[in-house]
Symmetry: C2
Subunit: 251 residues, 2 copies
């Protein structure tokens, strides 16, 4: 893990850009983070195809919110996004999905699988390698949460990586049938956001996915509005979820 | 409104039992409540058939939580409950509903209507008369929220009484079809609790009711477990909902 740049934001949050093999990412740490007070880490998911540069202000806002609870945050460029090598098959599948949705059709399982599964298969090992490295930093503790979109990636991680202790998921995209099966294996606490009128989502499928999660503690938190209309107070509630499960008083 | 008894709980909360015509109830006020600092009021709903005496510890706990946010709370004995004159028709309907549920049958609309509608028709005017009186007290302000079970009562009040500014509802019982129609007329902010595995509830009907609410701000907050398994943090989130909408900084 190579830190390519480092700066301190106005509120004392450290922001470091890093590279790890051909992966790039950003690590934010709150002012209190130090070897004597290592802090929990939030691994932030992001939707595919947009790229971290365009997502920066939203990611940084989430990292600042997490820092106010004493958490570090990390975000990694997804395969095929930003400056990374494009993935033509994924782009074709994304265009096919968009066409189906705008035509008012139910997207086929095949299109969803073509879009999501190769991305999950590529991304999850990269995120795990990144976790291996960042958890070696003395200012980062052992408590890790996953937060954000790219729900199929979050489900795969939550189901298979025992370092993830809690996950806040955004039920904001179509999910493959095989993701439903993986969801049943999850046992960690979950906080699931759903936008009730999400134009890029199927509400019935989102409720079915929520029902499938194997976790004993899971909360569905549904608000009005479209994909980008998550109300401000929902962010606060999600932050408190992580504080309960990753904070110094947790566990 | 006649105050039959008055005492101060250990944390300085005032607790007054009152009678108003043949209605009895309890009013809790936080220590800060005074004519110079009138406080918002939470009208607490409760399930029918149990009675305030048996519900006392749960109601008092909710009143203490509300008081910690600077809110007064009031609860009123429902018709047919506690020491009030029994309602044989309602008791028959409740027994019929319980029989249907324990036999694994879908309760008929007729049974639901027989249980709920007469109770709503009787209770809502009583609650409104109680509000008329309690809002005359100088230590009680004008901001009123409805909180709790008896969702059909909450829906009728939220749809018709403009004094109710926000409602926290518990989607924990069967609702008449006519309640669905009333739900569409509600425009105030709503915080809706749903227990995902509620044994006395129909999840599909609860989701349909949530969808029906006309409010622009409504949040569905679904947690695992049965009817009485609402997790502790859900109470905190509900309290913050009321603080946003009824608190001194709200509106």
């Amino acid at each position: 893990m190579h830190f390519a740049s480092e700066r301190t934001l106005d509120d004392g949050i450290g922001e470091r850009e890093f590279t790890l093999d051909d992966v790039t990412g950003i690590l934010w740490t709150p002012p209190i983070a130090s070897p004597s007070t290592p802090v929990p880490l939030i691994l932030m998911g992001q939707p595919g195809g947009i790229g971290m540069r365009r997502m920066y202000s939203r990611l940084a806002a989430r990292a600042r919110s997490a820092a106010s609870y004493g958490f570090a945050s990390i975000s990694v460029e997804l395969p095929g996004s930003g400056d990374r090598a494009p993935l033509p098959e994924t782009e074709h599948a994304r265009a096919d999905l968009a066409r189906a949705i705008s035509a008012g059709e139910q997207p086929s399982d095949t299109v969803i699988d073509r879009l999501i599964l190769p991305l999950v298969d590529r991304t999850v090992p990269e995120l795990q390698t990144t976790l291996d490295e960042v958890l070696e930093l003395p200012e980062i503790g052992e408590r890790v949460g996953f937060s954000g979109g790219a729900i199929a990636i979050g489900v795969r991680l939550a189901a298979t990586d025992t370092r993830i202790m809690a996950a806040g998921l955004f039920a904001g995209s179509y999910v493959p049938r095989s993701t439903m099966a993986e969801a049943r294996r999850i046992t960690i606490p979950l906080h699931v956001l759903l936008q009730w009128d999400d134009e890029g989502n199927d509400r019935g499928m989102a409720l079915e996915l929520f029902d499938a999660f194997g976790s004993r503690e899971k909360t569905l938190y549904a608000n009005m509005g479209g994909h980008t209309g998550v109300p401000h107070f929902a962010g606060d509630d999600a932050a408190r979820f992580f504080a309960r499960h990753l904070g110094v008083d947790a566990g």
